[in-house]
Symmetry: C2
Amino acid sequence: MLELNKLRSEIDEIDKKISDLIKYRQSLATKIVRAKKNVFPFDPKREKKLLKKILNYGLDPVMTERIWRQIISFNLSRQKIMKIGILDNDKYCLAAFESCFGPYFESKIFKSKLSLLNALNNEKVEIAFLNKKESEFDDKVYELENVSDFPSTDMFYKSKYSILIKKTEV
Amino acid sequence: MLELNKLRSEIDEIDKKISDLIKYRQSLATKIVRAKKNVFPFDPKREKKLLKKILNYGLDPVMTERIWRQIISFNLSRQKIMKIGILDNDKYCLAAFESCFGPYFESKIFKSKLSLLNALNNEKVEIAFLNKKESEFDDKVYELENVSDFPSTDMFYKSKYSILIKKTEV
């Protein structure tokens, strides 16, 4: 029991250190937004590079993506509560959405792909989240861009999900 | 741009430190399981105490619960890939399940509460995950125990979810 207690208090110390680092990371992320002069904070290219780097540190890739998506998305939400449209037409879309963006944004559920694409095109939402199989669109009609897929590391949802934004916002 | 690059490389350093701490934490968790002589590794009472402590470190509580659920569940899965039954009868159950246990276990979907309770009672699954509103059972028939609720910090799913295990396993 003594050994168990020692191990547990060591875990407590590590949890405190991780918390402090995440807190400090938040303050740096806030400074970055200021340095970028308050542009739209969602930067999927930077996020991809960041995740790729972290995936090299040797943790389980699935867990790594899940944890850092929460860290990144929460930071984003402190800059702006973005409006995200979700195409809710399959079993896993809400689970995938929450693993990707967390419960930190204003989410709006769409039942048809066209209504979601139109909402994004007309800036009623700022981001669209939908099954990758449904993510193609007519680029003569929509000025949209597929900027990222989730998850990048596993197939828990039997499918990938795509993240679209309006082209002019990049 | 110089300032931005400096901030970003500072974030990279912090991400590396967080990764190293999570990795070290995993090794301690493995030692704990050994010290406990390989009992069933799921210990919801300990998890609750742990989370309560971490919630005091001043990070956003919703993000904190999401991140540490992934850390804890992944560690658990390294000890044992538990069989978890999910009552899939509402919109958010899979999202809540994944935020709670991650994509690390063998999950089995049930459409009726009774079939899930029976599967748990007959040890076909080791854990049941279901809407809290559905979590009552006849304790003359079922030797089960409600050991935890998820999430403890928010109502993103419009409902809480309950975690049941078989009494004899405690």
